[in-house]
């Protein structure tokens, strides 16, 4: 999507810069100091970043050194081995994604699991961890799910990296050689994240610059430093030179860019909206708009989950969950068993009426009481 956006933007900007050549020449002097020690090949080179090699040509010497190190490494240990390079890479990624995705190795399994925002992947990892069944089919399935969630945009970069790290640990613990393959995938993912982060950084800087120029449309005395302001976190970012253009064309470019962004990101945006709606619908179904007995049952499930630590996955049946917590929740077991049966009779046998509801309510009250006693 970004590539398509960049190409479109490039076309528009090249048209615009051609139309405003005199203004561009007057503003170029002000950015020279900012670009000190940086190799800036110009717009086309900057926007056509698809690999680490492309980044090398537009980076400062220290960043270039870190990138070269990253290209040489096949393992995370190798990347972390060179502290200087690792810090630069961490900084770039941190400023872009908000998370130290190289430093995930220091986190515990549960912390990693908490980071995974995609419930199906989280469930898959948990069940793999529980069963210890790490056959080629299971690994393939998980990796496919992960890649598809990533391409759909339903999983964040940090969650993706956390899932890979968790899988690598599980494989390493079971002595499975597939762990090395996953580690190589992690390194590859860091490279991809870095390219994406740099490209995104450049584009946002470009948009900032365009809007800044528009605000200063009367004076054209803009300097790169003053426009960026002093409050930004300084990280090793690749900077570029922006040709100046007339305000009206800039406005047109801005609108066209927004239209293109909307067009290309509509699928992802749609997915995001759908997921928010689903989540909201899920909450409503779960806690408000459902009949009494299922409502009591699901509240009971949440309570048991808190007490036992057992989690009821989407594919777990009510009886399977009951069997899972058997002998683990003490006094809560008996009322929960009754509540489960009430739910089953209501949900699948079609039993309803005041008697069944009152019975379920009694079980739920017993469950809550037992829970209070247990916690006190």
């Amino acid at each position: 999507m970004l590539r398509a956006f960049a190409v479109s933007l490039l076309l528009l900007l090249s048209m615009a810069s051609a139309a405003s050549a005199p203004i561009a020449s007057s503003s170029q002097l002000n950015v020279a100091d900012v670009l000190e020690n940086r190799h800036t090949p110009g717009f086309p080179g900057i926007l056509n970043i698809t690999s680490i090699d492309d980044l090398l040509s537009v980076s400062s010497p220290d960043v270039r050194k870190a990138l070269e190190k990253l290209l040489q490494c096949d393992t995370l240990e190798c990347i972390e081995g060179d502290e200087f390079s690792a810090n630069i890479l961490k900084s770039i990624l941190y400023n872009s994604t908000g998370v130290d995705i190289i430093g995930l190795r220091a986190l515990s399994d549960s912390q990693l699991l908490d980071m995974i925002d995609d419930t199906s992947i989280r469930g898959l990892l948990e069940s793999l961890n529980r069963s210890g069944n790490l056959g080629p089919l299971e690994i393939d399935r998980l990796v496919n799910e992960l890649e598809s969630a990533r391409s759909r945009g339903s999983i964040s970069p940090q969650a993706y990296m956390a899932a890979l790290e968790l899988l690598r640990r599980m494989l390493e613990r079971s002595g499975n050689p597939q762990g090395e393959v996953i580690e190589r995938r992690q390194v590859e993912a860091i490279r991809e994240a870095l390219v994406e982060a740099s490209r995104r950084g450049l584009l946002s800087e470009l948009l900032e610059r365009i809007s800044g120029l528009y605000r200063e449309s009367q004076g054209w005395s803009s300097s790169f430093n003053s426009q960026r302001g002093g409050s930004k976190v300084e990280s090793p970012r690749v900077r570029f030179e922006l040709p100046s253009v007339s305000p009206s064309i800039l406005m047109l470019i801005l609108l066209a860019s927004l239209a293109i962004i909307t067009l290309f990101s509509s699928q992802r945006l749609g997915a995001l909206i759908a997921s928010i709606v689903r989540r909201r619908e899920g909450e409503e179904v779960e806690f408000r708009d459902i009949p009494l007995i299922p409502g009591l049952y699901w509240s009971g499930v949440r309570l048991i989950e808190r007490v036992s630590g057992a989690r009821m996955d989407a594919s777990t049946t009510h009886r399977e969950f009951l069997a899972r917590i058997e002998g683990k929740v003490g006094e809560l077991e008996r009322p929960f068993k009754g509540l489960t049966l009430s739910y089953e009779l209501y949900r699948y046998a079609g039993l309803s009426g005041r008697g069944v509801e009152e019975q379920a309510l009694r079980y739920y009250e017993d469950l809550e009481r037992a829970s209070r006693v247990r916690s006190s």
Binding site: S120, L124, S127, G135, P136, L137, E138, D140, R141, N144, V285, E286, I290, P294, G295, Y297, W298, A314, S315, T316, T317, H318, R319, E320, E344, R347, Y348, A349, G350
Partner: protein, 307 residues
Amino acid sequence: MIAKVVEKASSILVERDNEIKLMLASLLARGHILLEGVPGVAKTYTAKTVASLLSLSFKRIQMTPDLLPSDVTGGFVYDQRTGEFKLRKGPIFTNILLVDEINRASPRTQSALLEAMQERQVTIEGVTMPLEEPFMVIATQNPIEFEGVFPLPEAQLDRFIARVPVGYPSTKGFIEILRRADEIEEAIANLTPMVSREDVLNAIKEASRVRVEDSLYEYIARIVEESRRHPAVKLGGSPRAGIAIVRLAKAWAYIEGRGYVIPDDVKAVAIPALAHRIILNPEYEVEGVKPEAVIKEILGKVPVPRP
């Protein structure tokens, strides 16, 4: 009543509870069952035990490559005394037919048998005769033999409502078998029927009336559809596979003493009902992936109806 048959058969055969239940569920679902396993794991004993506990006619055919379709279905033979052709019914005219080593029969004989299984009737020289209800074929086959066998094609495997892999018992079960071997043989030989034919017919009728809540149909449809989407699968479950799951789940619930199906019933029958109907991609087969593992994975992924 059917539950008592399960209980009795399970008390004789060691660690065969699941196979016994599936066999009876197939009978109640008006289907046929294929028991698959290496020699010596009590496939035939299991079939014989269940058949003996039901007051139904029972016949057994040992398949061989030279067996002809007419050896299964029967045919018209000339009666010298009366000078007329008389119908001699084959072993298929029974309630429960045990077909031992079905993959040893020639494709022609297999087709004749499988056609009768599907149509529940036999046509001999233009005369069509319905088979008496209930009618169930319990076939056995040894999956590891390659010589002198004719593997059933997928389309014909699809005629079986369930395929049950019969594996080795656990060490504990094996020791018990060793200890009770003579006793088990004697018990099977002395079995007396516990359920009459009318009871079985009634049970079939009642099992078909077991309640299936709407969301469970959706759940079953999703399982079958997932079997088509799975990366390891070349050919997934057909609508007939879904129908088989519904029927078996109803029968399973009935045997469990319930008048309604729950997701656990679907999970209990999904593997036997689906595994023989899916074909894996060769690269996964080479890696030793089994259809059962694929279905298990699908069951672990498809959400059960909520809330």
